[in-house]
Structure formats: C-alpha cells, structure tokens
Symmetry: C2
Subunit: 243 residues, 2 copies
DNA sequence: CGTCCGGTTGAATGACGTCAAACCAAGTGG
DNA sequence: CCACTTGGTTTGACGTCATTCAACCGGACG
C-alpha cells in the first residue's frame, strides 16, 4: 500500500567500494622493517602454492597477475579470483593448517613472501598491522559476496560486462589504462570464474563488441564506452546492447 | 590417457572442514569477562542490522536462525547465508564503516552484541581472541569459496542436495538431529541462496523425494539416506537418482 | 610442414526460468 | 460455523538462454 513493504535498499556498498585494492592500509615498507620478508619471482604457469601444502606464509603481490582456484575430490574446479599487484594472497588459508586453494601465476610475477609466524609477531608489535590484516580479510569477504551476487543474479552477457568493468577499475587503481588492457587469463579461466562455458564468454564478448561497447582482439580489450558497459553490468540495459 | 596432466587434487579442504562452525575457538564466556556484552532478543522477521547502518558491533548467535542478504542499487538481491547458533555475524562489515548486508531473524533469536571498539580492546588484551577472530574471518572466506564452487559447478538438484547436506551437518554439530529437521527459511530464500528460482527448488526437493533419498512435507525434511544425498551433492550419481 | 592450443562461430539440445493454475494452512471477519 | 483472504508451496506447459557438439581459424612451436 504505502511506500512498498519491501525494504528498498537506500545504501549500496557495491561496486564502488569493492573496487579498491584489498590491503589499502598494508604498509609493506614498514612491515619489512619489522620482519624478514622474502622476495620471490614466479614464472608464468608456476604455482605460488598448491592446495594441501602446509600453510607457512602469506604473499603480497608486487607485480604480475595470478589465478586462484579451488577444487573438490570429485574433480570439480572453480576459479575464485585473479589477484594482482597490491593484493594479499593466502589469507583464505589462515587457521586451516594447509593451503586450501591453488594460486598460479598467469605471467611472470614478483611476490613478497611473509612467513606467517613472523606476521603474527609483527601484528603483536604493530597494532595497526593487525587492523590492516583484519580489514583485508573482511574486504575479501565482501568481494566474494559481491561476486556471489553478480553470478547469482546476472545473465552471461552481464557477467562478462561486470568482469570487464572490475578489471578496468583495478587497472585504473594501479595507474594503468582502464580503457585498454590485455587479459592475462584464457577464456576458460574467465568462464570458470563466471560459472559459464568458454564459448559463452566468447559470445558475450562478441555481443558487447557488436554493440560497440568494447573492441576485442584476442586478449586485447578496448573499452569504447565505459558508461554503457556499466549499465550492461548493472542493469537492464543489456537487452538493448546485445540485441 | 594416463592420470591426466591436469593436477589431480590430492588434498581437498571441502566439505568436511567446511561444516564446522565458524568460531570454533571463540570463547564467549572468557570474552564476557573481558568486556561488556549485551544480550538481545530478536523476534522472527526483525532485522539484526541493515545495510547502510553505521557499523558498531559484531553479533554472536546464541539461539535461533538468521538470514544474511546483500543488495544492489538496481534492486538485485541475493541471500548469502543462513547463520545459526554459534556463529559470528557482522564480520563482513569490519573496516567498511557501515554494515554492508542485511541480517534478519528467521525465528525468535537470542544474540549477543559485541561492541566493536570493545572487541578491539579485548583483542589487544587477549592475543588468543585476536587469533580466533582472524580464524573466523578466514573460515568464513573458505565457506564462501566453497559455495561459489558449489553454485558454479553443480546443477539445480545437486545444489539443493548440497544445501540439505550442509544444513544436516550443521544441525548435527549443534547436537540436533541431522536426519530430521525443519527448514526455517522459505523456498524463495533457499532459491536466492542457491541462485535458482523457488519453483526449481521445489522441483529438486520433489526429485530427491521421488528417488527415496529424502521425505519432504512443507518445511519438514527427513533424510532417508545421507550417503546417497552426499553422492548427489558431490558427484555424478544424481543423474540416476533424479531419473 | 603438421600439430596443438586457444579462440570463434553455428546448430541442436536441454535445463532452468516463466507463466499460470491449484492447493494448503492459518488467519479474519461476518 | 462458513466465506474469504493471504502467504507459501506444488505442479504443469511452454519458452528461453546457456550448454553441447561440431567445425573452423590463426598463431606458436617442434
């Protein structure tokens, strides 16, 4: 009768706040003064860690792109994210004794290894660090929930649009171009992340390209109209876009 | 040909480790000695908090069942979980300044309010508490990733089977019957959580019932064969089950 | 040069969504 | 007591969109 019995959400945390990098406040310089950190290079295709290995350290991505995936006993597998520069990987495994996911480099990466016992010591010494770690965890949680929502409520074309929008924003946050970038991952990886098949991802990219919203050439993406892309990802506009 | 070049995951964290309650090590008794905690009753249908409200406290569920959901500006919404006794809610909002999801009671609940500043103080005083909180965060993260995998790789019948299996395990962990329980949430809530429509959930339940795996009567669920249910949820058995 | 891998595209199939009707239990009011 | 509503659930018929299966293309590489 009145102003809708259904609560209209006045406040919406996504996606703006989602697109900031996770460890906003993680100061690696201060951290390395506090503890010994190890710089490591990882070649494309190599694992940073594998599910089942004993949990020893967190890793801060200093350069490069990674793929995180989780698998089950019966052979099912799903990509759960694509960490990049400035993000902390390994946090999902804290407290479980061993790593629970696979993290593999998509290209040559430089990562900083933070042995977990030392992290704990440093946290005790620097309360701000503890807060930063907790916030990183919580933000990661919000990210996952945002993607759960995206995958649960959007169709294939919209999911791909949302994926591109997310990549663009993360590139911008790193100082790269948000309108022109190269996908580091295969169609199959994207499909797994978005709970689609790789043919469907290809088709969605073709639809967006046909609508003039993006230009695709193999893994090279050019975003012609970020605003339309956003409408595709967020709302009902896509019916028109993809027609 | 051989054992597949694809890495066969020798170690699998899910679902066994997933089914433990989140704050294994959160000792509320010790905590309440350390800080002032507030006991609150929440009637069924009432909100514990809403997205957008200022973040003030975490909540420990002492009794009852809740529903957590996230919404976007354009009206999309998704249930992201069903917290129950022994779980900590609100952690996803840490560091964001305001709550980022809605949490509503499905039945009459008793919850313990833990004002966040006091939690921080207590963490500083009790290092084990800090560890427990961090672990709770990480475990929640693993849970979300497990469900992402489930939703991304299973069909409708399998998702519903996995959902029932999860509920059964959580009931068992609380000392309730794992083979006979009452769903506190509607078909619509289940459907939203599993990224399906409520008719599809109903059909899936009917399939499982027709296969003799469960008995359904409105919200009352009886699990006739937990082993077959598990095979449905996990693997390829369902084609046979639901036929 | 042939092979392989990743990507693209088309056509057919099928699973889930949509729409609609009916049912059931619990209220509410006459 | 019955008529009527309301919210949740169930079932059927039909439509749609993503998957499946297949063919084909182009670049990388032995």
């Amino acid at each position: 009768m009145t102003a809708m019995t259904a609560t209209t959400p006045a406040f919406v945390p996504f996606p703006a706040s989602m697109l900031r990098l996770v460890p906003d406040s993680l100061d690696i310089a201060a951290l390395s003064a506090q503890m010994t950190v190890l710089r490591r290079r990882v070649r494309g295709g190599q694992h940073v860690y594998r599910a089942g290995q004993p949990f020893r350290a967190l890793f801060f991505v200093h350069a490069g792109f990674l793929r995180r995936s989780v698998a089950t006993a019966d052979g099912r597998e799903q990509v759960t994210g694509f960490p990049m520069r400035g993000e902390l990987v390994g946090v999902e495994s804290i407290g479980s004794g061993h790593y629970t996911v696979d993290v593999v480099a998509l290209d040559d990466c430089e990562i900083i290894e933070l042995p977990y016992p030392a992290v704990l010591d440093a946290c005790a010494a620097m309360p701000t660090l503890q807060g930063a770690l907790t916030q990183a965890l919580a933000q990661e949680l919000r990210r996952d929930q945002y993607w759960m929502l995206t995958l649960g409520t959007l169709n294939a074309d919209q999911r791909v649009a949302a994926f591109l929008q997310d990549l663009a924003a993360r590139h911008r946050a790193l100082g790269f171009s948000a309108s022109h970038f190269v996908l580091r991952m295969s169609r199959i990886d994207i499909a797994s992340f978005l709970a689609l098949k790789h043919e469907t991802v290809t088709r969605a990219l073709s639809h967006l390209a046909a609508a003039g919203i993006i230009a695709v050439e193999r893994r090279e993406i050019r975003i012609a109209c970020a605003e339309r892309l956003g409408r595709c990802a967020g709302g009902a506009e896509l019916a028109r876009c993809a027609a």
